[in-house]
């Protein structure tokens, strides 16, 4: 899986990258995956936003991620903006890919 390649710079919006992900784990983005997601994103300087169904929240905010009510099979758009945006995108997309190591 060329995740690193998938996290490519979006040419339309100059300095930022976007990545679409699908929730694979059965339970969706409930509290534990939400915490993992926020903790992972916090390791990077890049700003991180999640857009789902027209709603955008800050991906570094646990209360925001909890609000998404993202169930299995739903897709969302991740947006990273900052000096280490590619690394941040790869790390976060990998979490989704692995289903947050849940079933």
């Amino acid at each position: 899986m060329g995740l690193r390649n998938a996290c490519a710079t979006n040419v339309l919006k100059r300095v930022m990258i976007q990545q679409e992900v699908t929730i694979k784990n059965r339970a969706g983005l409930h509290t534990r995956p939400a915490a993992t997601l926020v903790k992972t994103a916090a390791r990077f300087q890049a700003e991180f936003f999640i857009e789902k169904d027209g709603m955008e929240i800050n991906g570094k905010s646990i209360i925001g991620v909890m609000t998404l009510a993202a169930e299995q099979g739903s897709t969302m758009n991740l947006r990273f903006d900052g000096i280490d945006e590619e690394a941040a995108c790869a790390a976060v997309a990998d979490l989704f890919e692995r289903g947050f190591d849940e079933q």
Binding site: S61, T67, E102, Q103
Partner: protein
Amino acid sequence: MEQTSSSLQELILKGIPAAPGIAMGTAYLYSKHVPHIEMKTIAESDVEAEQQRVRTANARSEKELQKILAFAEQKLGSQSAKIFEAQIMILNDTILMGSIEKRIAKELKNAEYIVGDEINKYKRMMLASPDEYMHERARDVEDVMHRIVRNIQDQKLFSRLEGASIIVSESLLATDTVIFSRNQILGYAADLGGVTSHAAILSRSLRIPAVLGLRNVTKNVRTGDSVAIDGYAGTIAINPNAQTIEQLEKKAERLKAFEEQLTAFAPLVADTPDHKHIELSANIEVPEEVDYARAQGAAGIGLYRTEGTLLARQGDPSEEEQYEEYKKVAEATFPHPVIFRTFDIGGDKLAPGEYHEENPFLGWRGIRVSLDRPEMFLTQLRALLRASTKKNVRIMFPMIAKVSEVRRAKEFLKLAKNELKARGLHFDARIKIGVMIEVPSAAIMAEEIAAEVDFLSIGSNDLIQYLLAVDRDNAAVAPLYQQFNPAVLRTIKAVIDAGHRKNIWVGMCGEMGGDPIATILLVGMGIDELSVVPTVLPEIKKIIRTIKYKDAVRIADKVLTLHTEDEIREYLASVIKKQLPDIPLED
């Protein structure tokens, strides 16, 4: 009753008896503290101080929550404690706190207003979701917000009551349970909640009489009112009159004497005077209940409901998580046996929001769900097998309607065993399995089903509902739910006989098994095991130890000749009055 308008009128409300005992005292109406939030404009020079108020309140809130978390972990188990971990994470949400501070500076509004407004945005979004899980999260978020605002306003957490009280509340949130740890609580009454709610389990484990499900007790009680609660009958008397108090005092005395006498029964075996042994065990659903069940004199656990973990969280619990829970129960019960019933829930509970059934009682539930969800079923079976190394674990399948379902469940068990073997893990290779008899078709085919398993356990609640076509939660037909209906009794007798013809034991784990009036009858019909709620164990044991088996058989034979529920009840009541005059039956 004649009352003048000026005198305090007695009011008796009926609810669900959740924890036994009688308590009289002063009511304390416990309601969630909803802080009053005013919007105030602040001066630019006050911004720094206002932001500091939020930080201080946050730190204090976290301290409070850490204490509650520790208490919850100790008393309720780590699964229930997770709610507080989530609340603590919200307090540590730097993005959230950052935008609160920014808004204070930009909008020049007071701290509590901005905190309330900012957090409420998320609450509203959560409430907009159709998912019940999100609504619960919304309540958690609101709880956190109230906590921070209260601390900003520098109000102390309600924690200590003056003297001993009877707590009356709408419901008991997990966060509220801390009040039980800090105060002298005589009793507990609530609008909501049932026998299996956390409030009920906590009350029983702390030995506090409790009546739940009273619907509107909070509307009828004020702090300082005199109240009396009867945790046996499930009633609360508000402003009890002299007569009620006297009655309850007498009952408390009688029951105290009876209980003292009963504690002597706890270590004794449940044998009739003519040496017929009845295996008397307990129905429970959290590991913490094992100690209480044992103290009440249970030989083992006759029904451990496993679906608790499935309902408490989103998503299937992992094999490891289930194994930890089952192992804890098996070890606490050892050397006595524990019967784990595999997940018994409706499909609507598995996929909330998406899945609806017109008629869940006749729908996708119990073993039907497990057989359709191989991964979930195999994971549970592996966890159960791994917990069986001490050979005291039994597995029971719910909602079996036909022989082929038993065979398929057994194939899954074999598969689970092979998987564990391949992983080099130990388990009881000859683990005993059984079936709940609760669907009429299974009752009719009981002998053929008995040939497949090691035991049968009659689930009286569902069996009665299905046999009589009565939903007992439907008020219009609830009176038609009759456990002494002759058709019910004949079916039970037929199942017991079918099991015995195949040389296996037959038990009962429904509510009927815990009804003192039914005990003699069930023993007389040849039941081998009764699994009941822990609270009634001593009473049932006393009945078993008092009535001779041969008399019970005679009584059961007579009952099976009667044609109506009324005749049967009347006959049984007269028998009990004569043979067991000191059993305090409800009138």
